[in-house]
Symmetry: C2
Subunit: 160 residues, 2 copies
DNA sequence: TTTAGTGCAAACACTTTGCAAAGTA
DNA sequence: TACTTTGCAAAGTGTTTGCACTAAA
């Protein structure tokens, strides 16, 4: 049931190239890497390799099912092997640290969402933002007041 | 304990302008809006208003505590009122629909993360990707094989 | 009047595209 | 050989910045 990465490419009618191997290796080595980081890593071995190739390759590898990506805050796509054990991420807002957890940590949530809403959770994509234990001690979070909302009116006064 | 939005601005040493009111209104009206969408909405009332003003205003309003943002997939920042009831999001990968849930739906997870990892979850930012009930019936998810990883070697053959 | 806020245009970071040359099968 | 993939350069998105002008307080 297990095939090699190059067979996976060939089987889907794509060609095996050094570029693709390098990108896949980079994804394997650096976990949670952005396209940018993957590009930098790949360049260490192959200076001539182009950014667009990295993007195209990542898209292909994902399509073929060799890699997947997650969103870890802002706009950063981060890629990792599809074969890697599924895990969820805790991202600390303050120090930016990423904590990996086994999916079992959220199994009760997954079960509940399925039972109550018929929603099938993509565990590999689950990211929880918050504050890690270390930062909690340091920062005393600012308390928001909770002001009322405007009543739309002044606009016509100056619009044009 | 509740103040008006313009007082919130003044209190923090900022000025009250029509632009800021319009942006805040847009955020209020369209829930989960991207800067782009907010800009479009605002332009309907004030053609002259500039995109950069929208970005600057959103940043300010967030800083002052009137609005907050969430990441709902790719790189899309979506803004909503800070006063709005906290809620978590279920995003369907297939149809793109967004389901809002009360934070209580994940309270057990929040408790567990706190107890086990000392992690304080930012519930307002929690987004769960997956497949909604409707799409589950339709799409028969493709099963990934799980090919092996390359063994780094061919690279030197052609790098330069 | 003073100083913060705005519009404009240009700069940015990141990602995508068209096309001819190079390389896989 | 035939046809996919790459490198290159140029074009797109979405977001940010500097600066002179405008307007809130």
């Amino acid at each position: 049931m297990s095939q090699t990465w190059d067979d996976a490419l060939r089987a889907s009618g794509h060609r095996v190239t050094p570029q693709r191997q390098l990108v896949l290796e980079a994804v394997t080595r650096l976990e949670h890497a952005t396209p940018e980081e993957i590009y930098a890593e790949v360049r260490r071995k192959a200076v001539g390799l182009n950014v667009s190739t990295v993007y195209r390759t990542l898209e292909l590898l994902e399509q073929v099912g060799l890699v997947t990506h997650t969103h870890l805050g802002h706009g950063a796509h981060r890629y990792h092997l599809a074969t890697e054990a599924q895990h969820i991420h805790l991202v600390c807002r303050h120090c930016g640290s990423i904590i990996e957890l086994a999916p079992t940590a959220v199994s009760s949530l997954v079960t509940a969402l399925d039972r109550d809403y018929g929603f099938e959770t993509d565990v590999g994509h689950l990211t929880v933002f918050g504050t890690c234990a270390r930062c909690r001690g340091v920062a005393a979070g600012p308390a928001h007041a909770g002001p009322a909302v405007p009543e739309s009116a002044a606009a016509d006064r100056w619009s044009r």
